[in-house]
């Protein structure tokens, strides 16, 4: 017997000594997956945070001065719900926020064993109040006020950023950038635009060829990130601050978009760690820093983050009963739970007492979430969209992008 044979025997002996996997594994996996779904929409949810900003502080393009869109759509505060629509066709809004856009992703095979997950956006037409498909963009961040969106063209990383007038559908300004950009986010007050730079397509997928079956399985590259750094731009002036490189981080996802902290003085991104929702902060020179006091207890996978007045923190799913989910509302300074509110994933604050959330459809065993307006201190939800259910079309898995109107 040689060493190779001994290795083979020892491995087989260890394998055979294992008792079968316990029952209920699939259910546990599906339950955990429901809780982690926030990770998959982290980019959209985090973008939501970035675009939720005070309308009064919104810088507007020159063209916006002549805006003649009907009042009440962008400027209103009423609730616009379409519980029969998924994906939505008409305006969804509540309180100070509106669904500014949504997107779907579809795998596009490229060469050999590489492919990309390409996004297709539907943008709110502020005149008609309907969502219109716009295939020109691979990434869209909507500014507070819903008048302008920062966009990237189909090829990523992109070498220029467009500022799209949502009323006309025309790009008002192109801002060239020195480093390829793959993700965008507005600051809370809308005065700054954060561009995350990458050296590869951030939505790259690697395929594994199975010689026995001839099939290919696609997955995100693991253990490395395509992110190289970031740059901060002034969208009104079209100017770009110096690019800041970030060291390669094994704990960052392949796409690892940065977002502004509430005060815009720091940026952060989600990191992969021993638990979900971990976040890592950097100052605007790219140096790693501690989380700000009021954001240290937040989770990177819960988009709502701080309430408009900054006194409440939206955290993650904490309780499930048949047909109902509850998420935690905490004191941002201490991390202590203040109350629980309906909702499996808190996406955005509509005002200081209400949030927009994904909440599971009643009477369904499968997790089929709908957008819902939930209220602190109330067990009642108001459905805003139809259930997001799986179907043959890629459109079933639409991801929302909210912005303050």
């Amino acid at each position: 017997m040689n060493v190779e044979e001994l290795v083979r025997d020892a491995l087989r002996e260890t394998a055979e000594a294992q008792s079968p996997a316990g029952p209920g594994l699939a259910d546990r996996v599906l339950a955990v997956r429901r809780r982690r779904r926030g990770r998959r929409i982290a980019a959209a949810a985090a973008a939501t945070v970035a675009v939720v900003a005070l309308a009064v502080a919104v810088p507007q393009l020159e063209s916006a001065k002549d805006d003649v869109r009907p009042a009440g759509l962008l400027d209103g505060s009423g609730t616009s719900a379409h519980p029969d629509q998924s994906p939505p066709r008409e305006l969804i809004a509540a309180g100070e926020v509106a669904l500014a856009a949504y997107y779907t992703t579809e795998l596009q095979e490229r060469i050999g064993e590489h492919a990309v997950d390409l996004r297709t956006y539907w943008l709110l037409d502020p005149e008609s109040g309907r969502y219109e498909k716009d295939t020109r963009w691979s990434f869209v961040a909507v500014s507070p006020g819903l008048r302008t969106a920062a966009v990237l063209e189909r090829t990523l990383p992109a070498k220029r950023i467009g500022l799209l007038d949502l009323a006309t559908g025309e790009v008002e300004r192109w801002i060239p950038v020195r480093h390829g950009v793959g993700g965008l986010a507005y600051s809370y007050d809308g005065t700054k635009l954060l561009a995350t730079t990458y050296d590869e397509h951030p939505d790259l997928r690697e395929g594994t060829y199975n010689a026995k079956t001839g099939g290919i399985g696609w997955h995100e590259p693991v253990g490395r990130t395509a992110r190289t750094g970031f740059t901060v731009l002034d969208p009104t002036q079209g100017t770009e601050d110096p690019w800041r490189g970030l060291p390669s981080d094994r704990n960052a996802n392949f796409r690892s978009d940065l977002q502004f902290s509430r005060d815009g003085r720091l940026v952060y991104s989600k990191i992969v760690g021993s638990r979900d929702g971990m976040q890592k902060f950097y100052d605007l020179t790219g140096a790693a820093v501690a989380a700000p006091a009021e954001e240290r207890h937040l989770r990177s996978d819960v988009g709502a983050r701080l309430s408009p007045d900054g006194t409440l923190a939206a955290l993650g799913l904490t309780k499930e009963v048949p047909d109902k989910s509850y998420s935690s509302i905490r004191d941002p300074r201490t991390g202590e739970e203040i109350t629980r509110v309906r909702g499996a994933e808190l996406i955005a604050w509509a005002d200081d007492r209400r949030l927009i959330a994904w909440e599971r459809s009643a009477g369904k065993e499968a997790y089929e979430p709908r957008l819902a307006l939930v209220t602190l201190g109330s067990d009642t939800v108001q459905w805003l969209s139809g259930p997001r259910t799986q179907g043959d079309s890629v459109e079933w898995d639409w991801e929302p992008v909210f912005a303050r109107r």
């Binding site: 020892a10 491995l11 294992q18 996997a21 996996v29 594994t208 010689a211 026995k212 253990g223 799986q390």
Partner: protein, 180 residues
């Protein structure tokens, strides 16, 4: 994931989880709990893309292999799996096959995840070097050298195996291969 997809996922897990768990435990150096965690995380990822996966088992195995190596790269993940009792390398040599396999199992647990993964793919899954290279995203040469170094490392960890290698040439006792 709709009801039909969930049913398909459940059926797959029910039929294949025990086999997948065996591989996961091997990749984890014999640590059952770590193997269960590894498999559960791989299944969560697979569930997320269930409707796009043509070959679920191949896909889950791929995640297992890569995830294990990826975990090893994380700072807080143990670089070596601890064993209940450290191998007593100074023990009196017992030439029984069972005793040797026990020694070998202890030594396997002390390899790096990457080294162990290569050995599992080569000697448990019986995959050719080219297929191992494709799965791990490296060259055939890297698979070959990692295999070689892993076996050398086993010999270094368990001198009891020396008798098996008396007629073999042991060219490389370099310690652990660390890739960035």
């Amino acid at each position: 994931m709709d009801g039909e997809a969930q049913a398909g996922f459940r059926e797959f897990v029910e039929n294949r989880s025990s086999a997948l768990l065996r591989t996961a435990v091997l990749l984890s150096g014999g640590d059952r709990h770590a193997g269960e965690d590894l498999l559960q995380n791989a299944l969560i990822k697979a569930a997320g893309r269930w409707h796009r996966i043509d070959e679920p088992e191949a896909y889950v195995r791929q995640i297992l292999y890569r995830q294990q190596i990826s975990r090893w790269r994380l700072k807080w993940w143990r670089r070596e799996v601890s064993v209940a009792e450290p191998p007593d390398t100074g023990a009196v040599y017992d030439d029984s096959a069972a005793e040797l396999r026990l020694v070998m199992r202890g030594a396997l647990a002390r390899l790096t995840a990457r080294q162990r993964t290569v050995l599992v793919l080569r000697y448990f899954e019986d995959l050719p070097e080219a297929e191992v290279a494709a799965i791990l995203g490296c060259s055939v040469g890297t698979v070959r050298s990692t295999t070689h170094r892993s076996l050398a490392r086993l010999r270094a960890l368990a001198p009891e195996l020396a008798a098996l290698t008396a007629v073999e040439r042991v060219p490389d006792f370099s310690p652990v291969e660390v890739r960035p």
